[in-house]
């Protein structure tokens, strides 16, 4: 089965990005596919390459980058939400791309299920 994932909140402040990651990893582990992870609202802040969390904490943007690389997952940051919040190519983490909201709608059409993680 193919899952689409929407993340509405930024890293660390809310658990949304963590729960989405744990869900996605479990889905892959069970042989499902992740159609796309779409980052909207403050969710775009998951895509910063400048984050330097304490060494004893998880590195959320890096975790997504590695997940995308290992499992060939499409990580899409909403351009409009990102411009509002100061996420651009110059501070974008590896494995993320910036695109339009149409990518979210398309994920809703293509994926078998679209799950929303937020506040």
């Amino acid at each position: 089965m193919e899952f689409g994932i929407l993340i509405n909140e930024g890293p660390y402040t809310h658990q949304a990005s963590d729960t989405a990651y744990n869900f996605a990893a479990a889905a892959i582990g069970k042989g499902h596919k992740i159609h796309r992870v779409f980052f909207y609202h403050d969710g775009v802040n998951n895509g910063t390459r400048l984050a330097e969390p304490p060494q004893d904490d998880r590195h959320i943007p890096k975790r997504w980058s590695e997940f995308a690389k290992n499992h060939n997952i499409d990580l899409v940051i909403c351009v409009a939400a990102a411009l509002r919040r100061g996420i651009k190519d110059e501070n974008l983490a590896e494995g993320f791309r910036i695109s339009g909201l149409g990518q979210l709608v398309e994920s809703g059409i293509q994926a078998d299920r679209l799950l929303v993680f937020g506040d």
Binding site: L83, G100, L101, G102, L104, G108, I109
Partner: protein, 139 residues
């Protein structure tokens, strides 16, 4: 809303790759406007979804009904008033707007207080409608 509308061009192209499939999209609105940005950014997704020729509905319940209250004047808080966009949805062929009767009543609101014509459904009717959807988006 400007960037959302500009965005349509790029999105339509993507939409074509998904051509053929028509799904029932339901946008759930349960949050009041201005205190948070979800109402505004939800509306931006709704506008984009129109370009994909999907079967789009909007449900307003709980504090979401406050999004549609008329007479919003935001100069005092310095935030853009996005409520006129609800009136523009019609032009995008988005006509299925539902408010929940129980949520309206609890807040002392009637459809007279709203800025667009909407269909008022009972809690049971609206839940039933949501259950028939293919994609349910909450923000």
């Amino acid at each position: 809303m400007s960037e959302a509308i500009n965005d349509v061009g790029e999105s339509v192209e993507t939409g074509e790759s998904a051509a053929g499939k028509v799904k029932k999209f339901m946008f759930i609105n349960r949050k009041s406007p201005y205190g948070t940005i979800y109402a505004l950014e939800s509306l931006e997704v709704v506008l984009i979804s129109a370009a994909f020729d999907q079967d789009v509905s909007l449900a307003f319940f709980d504090d979401g009904v406050y999004q549609l209250v008329k007479g919003q004047k935001t100069q005092g808080i310095g935030i853009k008033n996005h409520s006129p966009t609800y009136r523009a949805l019609d032009g995008y062929d988005i006509e299925k707007l539902y408010v929940e009767k129980e949520s309206m009543e609890l807040r002392g609101l009637t459809t007279e207080d709203l800025l667009v014509p909407v269909q008022q459904l009972s809690r049971g009717e609206l839940s039933k409608l949501i259950d028939t959807q293919d994609v349910v988006l909450s923000f």
